[in-house]
Symmetry: C2
Subunit: 343 residues, 2 copies
């Protein structure tokens, strides 16, 4: 590696004997130049390590190679996992992913969208906050920038939505729970931030009716993203009060279930699907920690990588196709029942 510092593409052009416009082509797509010149450039690159100025590159270009990825709350392992999967998909496709978190805040989500607009990304993959989102802002954003939503849907926002089929997954879980013991009560938040919660409640009511069972919905007070805390406190109170008419609780998501398990343990209530257990608890999402709870949590596995891959590939198709597809397509993946010991 030679010590001479190269300041710009002009100098690099002089050194490696290739004209600047050709170099410009090369850096935007190495395969767009003849094999022999590509080899020359790459050889020179080895010796002198020059990299074009990112800011100057993107200044004039209308379409950047950046893909914005915005999730509602990165401290939630669900989103850090799916965010990571999406990042990798973008890298593989030759784009530069930029992962942002809204930290559960509506204002932060708007700010991040604003930032992204300034970054002129090729496209954006967005998992919206949900109820707290400014739907109109997101719809407007989708008119300016190729946008694919995942995890949580917002009507008519973006070009497509990729998520999981809550009706299928909840029905699957209800079916299993009814077959293997008492029918489940539903435990959820009164004001859920995530719109999937509403779908899951509807799915639960629907499924219970079809199973000829009486539905029981219990709602926890509390707002924000500290789901475990809410599950622990509200769930603990309900357990202590004997509020649940059956011995089986289906929690709207795993993080609530983790709190509920913690509450049950604190009250000395034995949880599990085996003889001698007093309570069954099931969750939804297959949270990364669900297999390490005590007892390990029976839950529905969302296909993280499939959702991530589909969201990414849908966006890439959009970018390549150029034309905006007339119909907004919604793709839902089936959940998979994961039977562990808690139910």
């Amino acid at each position: 590696m030679s010590k001479t510092k190269i300041r710009n593409m002009e100098e690099f052009s002089a050194i490696c004997g290739i004209s600047r416009p050709t170099l410009s082509k090369f850096f935007n797509d190495p395969t767009s130049v003849r094999r022999s010149t590509r080899a020359k450039i790459e050889a020179a690159l080895e010796k002198y390590d020059y990299r074009p100025n990112i800011y100057a590159m993107n200044q004039n270009r209308t379409k950047t190679r950046t893909i914005g990825i915005l999730v509602p709350y990165l401290a939630d392992p669900f989103f850090s996992e799916i965010g990571r999967a999406v990042e990798l998909a973008c890298i593989e496709a030759g784009y530069s992913p930029l992962l942002l978190s809204s930290h559960g805040s509506r204002q932060q989500e708007v700010d991040n969208l604003d930032l992204l607009r300034g970054l002129k990304p090729a496209g954006v993959l967005l998992a919206p906050l949900g109820r707290d989102s400014d739907a109109e802002v997101i719809r407007r954003f989708g008119r300016d920038v190729p946008l694919v939503l995942f995890d949580a849907n917002i009507e008519d926002a973006g070009e497509a939505f990729v998520g999981s089929d809550n009706f299928q997954s909840i029905d699957l879980m209800v079916d299993y729970l009814c077959r293997s013991g008492q029918p489940p009560c539903l435990f959820e938040m009164k004001s859920p931030v995530n719109p999937n919660a509403n779908k899951r409640r509807a799915a639960y009511l629907d499924s219970m009716a079809r199973h000829g069972q009486t539905a029981h919905v219990f709602q926890a007070d509390g707002t924000g993203w500290d789901f475990e805390e809410i599950g622990l406190n509200a769930g603990g109170r309900m357990l202590a009060d004997g509020a649940f008419p059956t011995d089986t609780i289906l929690c709207s998501n795993d993080r609530l279930a983790i709190g509920m398990l913690s509450a049950a343990f604190g009250l000395g209530i034995r949880v599990g699907h085996r003889e001698g257990a007093a309570l069954r608890v099931a969750g939804h999402d297959d949270h990364p920690f669900a297999r390490y709870t005590a007892p390990p949590l029976t839950t529905i596995a969302q296909d993280y990588s499939a959702i991530a891959a589909r969201a990414a590939s849908t966006l890439f198709a959009l970018l390549d196709g150029g034309d905006h597809t007339p119909s907004r397509e919604e793709t839902l993946f089936d959940g998979r029942l994961v039977m562990r010991d808690s139910a």
Copy 2:
């Protein structure tokens, strides 16, 4: 909001009646212009919503307002929490944070450093991978860019290091465990990725000697970042084999402890500090989920926000001071004992 789209600062200058250089000053520091002109500009901004082009702004500027934040593994809630704290500190100080994850990969860490170099950030806050890091690359990076390390130290890399005092915290935990029951065995990974693990082992040996106790170190095979899995498998085998000579296990970090608790539950071993329990398990870090394990995990709380705030303020001081401080300072925060039910 008027509909006329403003393309550049020139047009905006014409519309609001302020010269372009003054506008340029304003956007780089609103307080640097006279109060009356600032009011005029902000009024026009309300009406026409113009934002300067990010790329053009940063192209010529030597010092960007971007602060790079690089953590080893964002899917680990410890790092997503501390990353978030650092992000907020940067925003408050008027910088634009950019949070990146190395996903546990050495190559990704190098790539991210490369990316950051191209972004010409004002400074970088780095929590290195640790053993897997390319120390020489990081040291070189620190010579080009103002760099502060946190969580894991690398000798002579960057201008400062902020972390927690493992000798203090482990001694505190050992002391508590010895006072309240049998002396602890140490459970750790044989090839820990994080250098804190080595410090903790040394601290454990040291502390046990000072307490006049025999040290017992148990090392789990397995590599990578799936600590819970490793704790569950290796810990479970050791428990089943009756490998531990005392009834108290100090895990090198909470994620191993979570795996160990899961293993103990699976084996029907009752964990806790109360009468009737067969095993005590303690961790280190106060992982966000540590309070929801069964039983809740006794651990050492690292002061996340203090470490984040200090790392950030150290970097800001560096940026303002201009001169590189001659001495590389290392700041260590004390850990706090969190007594829950597991030990």
